[in-house]
Subunit: 193 residues, 2 copies
DNA sequence: TTTATTTGGTAACAAATGTGGAGCAAATGA
DNA sequence: TCATTTGCTCCACATTTGTTACCAAATAAA
């Protein structure tokens, strides 16, 4: 499947572009390969780009003052990838984005995207909608923590991303759930009994 | 203090407007009074406005399927108030916003705001920056839940909003912290011993 | 290959949090 | 005034989660 088709699949759910618009849009994207354990973005860098994940798995994490790292999110095939805070404010990123499999992304620079906003307003609409979705996801994630137990959160994650357990190590998942890997182990044992 | 001055105080930290711009901007705001326990926005309504809280305290909460209500945020004097998801997407709000004291807000309609964006681009910048801050706040809130214990979250809240404990009932705070009011009571006892 | 290192798992104990019951003081209403 | 409700605290007990230590399997490195 070529670049244009992959973009089209991902965009069609939100806005529909003519072949010409799609072609112009896709020209601005560059293929980027990232090896396992390499960074797509490091804390302190400015995220002046957006990526569409073609292949692989990425994790978002933040380094805390005490040296701990906390996993805030994952990205799978089809997900848009960027550090929203950094991109919006054009300021250094507070988070890291790292590949935990060999991965491939289609990447567009923020500047090129801004240019396209002017030429194809529908793309600006796409941008706004993706931003909204990102915000809503954050709100939902928050409520998850507020009202659900660790076990419930695990089961909800299981339902939402069944693939995650084949591709992401358990300590990353525990970290994401905000619990100790041992606690996760216990929860898993309990469920599969 | 008049309307213009209140707006100016709140905006100055982000963008600086000329007297003329400020005057034009402030004309679009209308004063709205809300009695204790009345709603600024109900679930299902569309938030086609933004408010600046002059006086009072509001809480944001979401009704869950099982009938529970969970407090997701508070607003105090000087805070901008709206349902971001609803306003951005012009769709029904998923949350409620209610006054827990007699309150007063300066309210601007989304349509008027959009008109002003065109006349005063600096205001659009203000809008973008406030959106960013809201997003960042959400991210921080998330990390709070992920890494801190209930006790730590209580102490962080105490540090961030010392006024909250004089003005918001403890069961609202417990709800916001994601714990049982009894647990909060115990934590408080523990701290003040 | 052999040897470290990483990863996932178990068990035992400690600490934190939830649950249900009870009491008390302040606010509210008849 | 008196009764009721509401918000808060405390107690005892159950459940959940964290901590530490240890082991086995998988993986990486030599």
């Amino acid at each position: 499947m070529d670049k244009i088709q992959k973009l089209k699949n991902r965009i069609d759910t939100v806005v529909s572009l003519t072949d010409e618009e799609l072609s112009m849009f896709s020209k601005a994207f560059v293929l980027k390969k990232i090896s396992k354990n390499d960074f797509f973005l490091k804390e302190g860098q400015i995220a002046n780009f957006i990526g569409l994940l073609n292949q692989g798995v990425l994790i978002y994490f933040k380094s805390m003052d005490n040296g701990d790292e906390i996993t805030t999110d994952f990205a799978f095939e089809g997900d848009w990838v960027t550090a929203i805070q950094s991109r919006l404010s054009n300021s250094p990123s507070l988070i890291n984005i790292k590949a935990i499999e060999n991965s491939e992304l289609l990447v567009i620079k923020q500047q090129d995207l801004s240019d396209i906003y002017i030429k194809i307003p529908k793309i600006e609409r796409l941008g706004r909608i993706l931003m909204e979705q990102a915000y809503l996801k954050m709100v939902e994630q928050n409520i998850d923590f507020q009202v659900f137990s660790a076990k419930d959160r695990y089961e909800r994650l299981l339902k939402k991303h069944p693939q995650i357990f084949q591709r992401v190590q358990l300590y990353h998942i525990a970290n994401y759930l905000g619990i100790d890997p041992k606690s996760l182990s216990r929860i898993r044992k309990q469920i599969f009994d």
